[in-house]
C-alpha cells in the first residue's frame, strides 16, 4: 500500500479535487494507495511512511520524499505528464 499526501494552502477545496484525481489514477493503474489530505503546513509532521507528496501550490520541499506539483489536476495543463511522473514514483 502506497501512501500519498495531497495538500493545499488552507481550505482543503483544491486538494480535494487533486486527491480525487490521484485516487482515480491509482485505481486505473491497479495501484493500491492511501491518499491523505492535509494543509501544506501539516506536511512536515506527517511524513512517516509517505511515498509521495503532491501539493496544489508550489513549495520548496524540505524533505527527501518524492514531490510533485499537482496544479495540472486543476488547470488541465500538463496533466498527462504529471500523471506519468506520479506513477513513476509509486509503481513497484
Amino acid at each position: 500500500m502506497k501512501k500519498i499526501i495531497v495538500a493545499c494552502g488552507g481550505a482543503v477545496a483544491t486538494s480535494t479535487v487533486a486527491a480525487d484525481a490521484i485516487k482515480e489514477l491509482c485505481e486505473k493503474n491497479g495501484i493500491s494507495a492511501e491518499v491523505i489530505q492535509m494543509r501544506i503546513i501539516e506536511i512536515e509532521n506527517n511524513l512517516d511512511g509517505i511515498d509521495l507528496v503532491v501539493t496544489t501550490m508550489k513549495i520548496v520541499p524540505n524533505f527527501d520524499i518524492p514531490y510533485v506539483n499537482g496544479m495540472p489536476f486543476l488547470t488541465g495543463i500538463n496533466k498527462e505528464e504529471t500523471e506519468k511522473r506520479i506513477l513513476s514514483y509509486i509503481k513497484d
Partner: protein, 157 residues
C-alpha cells in the same frame, strides 16, 4: 444533484468594474451576504487568506480566480458567487504566489463542508479545463446565458 441554491442568477454579476482584487472579493461577498449564504466575517477571512494562499489560476487561454476560505460557522448555506470583470484584475497565482494572474472570471466558493461537494468541485474544474466552455462564459451576453453555461457544466450528467 446540483441544488439551485448552490448557484443561481442572484449571485452572478457580469461586467463588474473593480480596481483591485479586494474590491472583487468584496463584491462577491456582498452578493453572498445579501442572499444569506454567509456572514460578513467569511469575506474577511477570504480576503486575508488570499494574501497568504492566493487562488489565481492560469488556464490555457485566460486567467481566473477562486477565492475561498475555511468556514468558521460563518457559511450558512453552500454557494458559489460569480463575477465577470469588465477589465481583468490581478490575483496572485495559487501555484506560485510570486506570479500574477490577470483574472477576468472570479468565483467565490462558500462551502460549509468541502467533502460533500466533491462532485461540484470536480465538475467546476472540468469546466475550467474546457476552453470552449470558458470562452462561452466570457462571451455570454447576459446573466441568463452565463448561468445556463455554468449550470449545464455543473449539473449531474
Amino acid at each position: 444533484m446540483l441544488k439551485e441554491e448552490f448557484f443561481n442568477e442572484k449571485i452572478i454579476c457580469l461586467d463588474v468594474e473593480a480596481n483591485n482584487n479586494e474590491e472583487v472579493m468584496k463584491k462577491l461577498g456582498q452578493m453572498l451576504i445579501k442572499n444569506k449564504y454567509i456572514d460578513a466575517s467569511y469575506v474577511q477571512s477570504v480576503i486575508l487568506r488570499e494574501k497568504s494562499f492566493p487562488t489565481g489560476l492560469a488556464l490555457a487561454n485566460t486567467g481566473i480566480a477562486i477565492p475561498h476560505a475555511t468556514p468558521e460557522n460563518n457559511v450558512f448555506k453552500n454557494g458559489m458567487a460569480a463575477v465577470r470583470l469588465k477589465t481583468p484584475v490581478q490575483f496572485n497565482s495559487m501555484e506560485d504566489p510570486e506570479k500574477k494572474i490577470d483574472a477576468n472570471l472570479v468565483f467565490m466558493l462558500a462551502l460549509s463542508e468541502v467533502g460533500e461537494h466533491l462532485g461540484i468541485l470536480k465538475r467546476l474544474f472540468t469546466m475550467f479545463q474546457n476552453e470552449e466552455l470558458v470562452k462561452k462564459l466570457q462571451k455570454s451576453n447576459d446573466k441568463e446565458t452565463f448561468f445556463k453555461v455554468l449550470a449545464n457544466s455543473l449539473m449531474d450528467k
